[in-house]
């Protein structure tokens, strides 16, 4: 059985294969026997708009159907049921499970109790492999990933999308530029792991220092809930903002990505520049999730 749990579980060839399949779905080149007799359970125990909707859209485009829950409050978790029991029960209903859960490692646990494939749609501050795949896909749509300079900006301490993406990029000979406000730097053990994988990691104090070197700038939101009070949040949150002025002199092919939602890190005026790719990136969630759903249920 094929589970999608963590980007750490993938070799480069696995990633390339899934990206190729996503492109085939995206361009209409690939029209296999679809999943019209299949049912996926979308178990979202944490709020999500894009991830949940893109999985539902992907399943519908493959001809399959979705069932699921949208919140802890709407599930038997409030009655004290364990996730393990929920997974065993839902395994009897659906052909695959897509899980979003607030606890790190929840998807790994689910895969141990499920009798159907499990796809991790984000577990706490842990892993979010389908987001990483669509990030890679968006980069590869425009430029080869190999040998690029990628900047990660924002909350690199808690940001699961940043961690997963950095690990995946380490398989592509990318130079990583990390730019984080004080206290939100990339955890030392992850930076060490990246270097052990042979990745060049360059730390920067501010985005101005790095932006002209970059082919990709991946911006993340600072999560307000991590801070004890509003003042300390705004101090950090206002420490960076991408504006059109900041983009003077950048590489012509620079692409700005963001997993969305944004909360002021990117001036809306940037949306009209050729560098903005975050809405295209969100759209790419559908072909990537089509590839994942098809792969685990075919």
């Amino acid at each position: 059985m094929y589970h999608i749990i963590s980007i750490r579980d993938f070799e480069r060839s696995d990633l390339d294969y899934l990206l190729d399949r996503a492109r085939e779905f995206d361009t209409g080149e690939y029209r296999p026997a679809m999943l019209d007799d299949k049912l996926v359970a979308l178990l979202f125990f944490e709020p999500s708009t894009r991830t949940r909707m893109s999985f539902a859209t992907a399943m519908a485009r493959l001809g399959g159907r979705s069932i699921g829950v949208d919140s802890v409050e709407a599930s038997s978790i409030v009655k004290g049921e364990t996730l393990a029991d929920t997974i065993r029960v839902v395994s009897g209903y659906a052909d695959a499970i897509v899980l979003r859960h607030p606890k790190e490692g929840a998807a790994r646990l689910a895969s141990e109790f499920a009798s159907v494939p499990v796809i991790n749609a984000g577990d706490g501050a842990g892993q979010h492999p389908s987001q990483t795949l669509l990030d890679l896909y968006t980069i590869r749509q425009s430029i080869p990933i190999d040998g690029t300079n990628v900047g990660l900006l924002g909350d690199l301490r808690y940001g699961r999308t940043a961690h997963s993406l950095a690990l995946a990029l380490s398989l592509y000979g990318v130079t990583l530029h990390t730019i984080a406000p004080g206290g939100l730097e990339m955890p030392a053990n992850i930076a060490l792991e990246l270097r052990e994988r042979g990745m060049e990691v360059v730390e920067h104090a501010n985005v101005e220092e790095a932006i002209r070197e970059l082919d990709v700038l991946y911006v993340t939101r600072i999560q307000r809930e991590r801070f004890p009070d509003s003042a300390s949040y705004y101090n950090v949150a206002s420490s960076y903002r991408i504006t059109p002025d900041l983009l003077d002199g950048v590489k012509e092919r620079l692409m700005i990505l963001h997993p969305l939602p944004r909360a002021g890190e990117i001036d809306p005026a940037v949306d009209r520049t050729p560098y903005a790719r975050y809405f295209e990136q969100a759209r790419n969630g559908v072909p990537i999730r089509m590839a994942l759903l098809h792969e685990v249920m075919k």
């Binding site: 963590s6 750490r8 996730l83 393990a84 790190e104 490692g105 790994r108 842990g126 053990n189």
Partner: protein
């Protein structure tokens, strides 16, 4: 007249049945007892020697536990604190088994994950699981890495 130091006799006095844990890293004897669940209210008869001179280690600790033979999972825990420890099983005053400790590749249910957000710290029916790496213990659920102070995380 004997030249034997009378205090040495106290340190090496034999036990009839039980376990002698020798070559414990100096200063770790009390942590070894803690992870074995031995406290002032448990019934074992104990001898503990700390900071004993050792040719091989400089200083070492020794623990003797009467009428108790250690299980494999207990030995695994000791290995985390005292990788050079030697376990001697004693029956009728004789050493019937002598073995070193070995840190297993994977530790299940031995160490609690320090990450409060880890799924293993909830009421789910799973044991914590760590792979043992040269740089520390890696949680196979949440990817947390324990680099030091392992004694405080042993269950």
């Amino acid at each position: 007249m004997s030249t034997k130091d009378p205090s040495r006799g106290l340190l090496v006095s034999p036990i009839r049945n039980g376990t002698v844990i020798d070559h414990i890293t100096a200063g770790e004897a009390l942590n070894v007892l803690r992870i074995l669940g031995i406290t002032g209210s448990t019934p074992e008869c104990l001898s503990i020697a700390t900071n004993v001179e050792s040719k091989r280690m400089g200083k070492k600790d020794i623990v003797k536990i009467e009428n108790r033979e250690l299980r494999t999972e207990e030995v695994d825990r000791i290995a985390l604190l005292a990788p050079q420890a030697k376990i001697n099983i004693i029956r009728e005053y004789k050493v019937v088994e002598k073995k070193g400790v070995e840190i297993p590749e994977v530790l299940r249910g031995v160490v609690r994950c320090p990450n409060p957000g880890c799924i293993t710290n909830t009421n789910e029916p799973v044991e914590s699981t760590f792979e043992v790496l040269p740089k520390g213990l890696h949680c196979l659920y949440c990817d947390w890495l324990i680099k030091d102070d392992i004694a405080n995380h042993i269950i």
